[in-house]
Amino acid sequence: MQQKHFKVALIGQPNVGKSTVFNHLTGLNQHVGNWPGKTIEQKTGKINYKDYVIEICDLPGTYSLTSNSEEERISRDFIIKEKPEIVIVLLNATSLERSFYLLSEVLLLEVPTILGINMADIAKANGIEINYSMLEEKLKIPAVELVASKNLGLYELVEKTIEVYEKKQKSVLPFSAIKSTHKRELDELSEILNGRIPKPYPLKWFSVKLLEGDKEITELSKKWLKDKWNEAHKILERHEDAYLDIVGSRYEWISEIISLTVKNQRPQEILITDRIDRYATHPYWGMALLLVIAATIFSLTYLVAIPIVNLLSSGISLLQSFLKDTFQSYLSPFFSGLLFDGVFGGAGMVIAFFPTLVFFFFFTGILEDVGYLSRIAYIMDNFMHRIGLHGKSFLPFFLGFGCNVPAILGTRIIEEKKARMLTIVLSPFIPCTARLAVLTFLAPAFFGRYSFLVMLALIMVNLFAVFLIGKFLSKTLFKGEKSAFIMELPLYHMPDFKTISIYVYENIKSFIAKAATIIILVAGIVWVLANYPSGNIEESILASFGKTLEPLGTLMGFPDWRLSVALLTSFVAKENTVATLGILYGVSPETGLSERVSSVLSFPAALSFLIVQMLFIPCVASVAVIRQEAGWRWTFLSIILSLFVSVAAGIFTFQIIGLFYA
């Protein structure tokens, strides 16, 4: 019996399993080369099945048939010029939307088509159910379920291919290629193009693609239309945005088909999440809830952590004096001082930080794990928009709450140089986590049981500052510019203790790494400077240096030079403030840092100190990034500005609160 020959093209998006299908179908009967004049691989092969010899060409993986990439051009040229009898479109059952877009473009070429829906196993596992008979009915083309990796469905795919070949049916476009609003332009273009474009190109497809703004088709039209091009160009100019409707209608069709033929169970979790989010992410309710949650976290942290911190501080001090007493006689006074008062004292102070941090991480860990933390950006963004701020004007500031370094890098989204520089200079005013941690630790030392209120107030002051800065930028530099912020909000779920423990562990670990290196180093240096030359701290070089700052310190309410020096050491790393205070105030088992500091600092002075700490020069890492991103001039400006603003705020706080407090 006579063998029948015909040609088939295999097309699909990258990773859909095309090679797997191709290899199963052709076996060893394949040839690998390159597309003529291209570096892209071309695979062809033969299927000998019953009385048929099917020549199959594996087209390059592609998402659409617009002329944006070489792959897309090769694929569509093959279908148009080589005229395969049938095109097999491989779809990915787990991302049907994307696959369908390619399908819609293939259908537009009006070639007989068959669908192979691959990855059916994964789709099923994910709860995606496809109604094949409905799909075939709606598309008027056969659809075969495939699990190519297990060689399932491929036999049926070949059978269907032959069936379609034998029927020799013309394909019909199952959707309208164009919206009625653009029908006239399309007709006008077709009229101009008719008889002027070479044979293999389908007139309707060519006209649609021209109206859609396809680059290659536009170039070809210019070439082929010659003096008629002007006429076409005028139509195109008038309907410059027609593609929004043309492409948009393809998506509408996809969405409609998917909603009719694909069922994806909505788990209970989604419903619960939606219900919670109605309030939790509401621009005003959400903001209120956020404040309540923040207040709860701080008060809980303090409630549990403070007794432990006190215990730990005395424990560390006891150990410190014990070690000092035991080993003093074996070491030189300088060395034992450096080791026990300097390094141990400084690091011990920071270690006393621990419980506060552990509980803080624990509570934020819960929020993170249940899915609330990722909503904060959303709530804030929404709130800021409601009160008229431009998104770009506060994005870097949000990042700044984590760390100023990414905030400064985050300003890269701002194209305009002046706006960007301004944002960079303002970013360090946002208290990063390290500063917040220092505050979290110092606040109870200064304010006892009111500390959480103070913390909250300070954070509110900062948010207000973000608001003011944002308002200023929105009114000036970003005026008239628009932006939208889209994010994926995770589903809420019950907290998992193990995940939270890992979260706490990871964070504590990185804190220890910092404490073990940079903080101890600075503590050592501070101790040496505070004991050189005579061992009497008041006569040390650090004191004489600190005393030059005293006039300014007095204005801010600082009773002595130690506080100014503690602030200065925060330049290296913010946590150093705590370590330095510990060294300079010589904490002992009987009197912890809280007692020592609160005995020298009045309420207005303590508040002023915290505010200065919060607004002070950013740490070295941030300064380095500012220099990298903005150059020396801006770095210098940033340092001067932070210095000025922090000192001014300190003076203002002390003087004003002092009036009421006296």
């Binding site: 929004l244 950006a377 998104g391 890098l409 989204i413 932006s483 990871e506």
Partner: protein
């Protein structure tokens, strides 16, 4: 459909993928696809608001992890 999404974006708010999908009556995958399309055509520009430095920050999900800003 693309026009509708553009209109929604131009309101300039913070949006969750689910909100958009609800107001457009399509699923989230579709929304992602439409956003890609608008971006490919140069109608919107997106910027990932997350830097690799943020990976170390314990509050990173409170920031902008998973968020994209679109400007026109």
């Amino acid at each position: 459909m693309l026009r509708k999404l553009l209109e929604i974006l131009k309101e300039g708010n913070a949006l969750s993928a689910r909100e958009i999908s609800l107001s457009m009556g399509v699923n989230k995958e579709m929304v992602a696809l439409l956003l890609e399309e608008l971006e490919k055509r140069g109608l919107i520009q997106s910027s990932e608001s997350h830097s690799s430095l943020c990976d170390k920050c314990h509050l990173n999900s409170a920031c902008k992890k998973g968020g994209k800003r679109y400007t026109f």
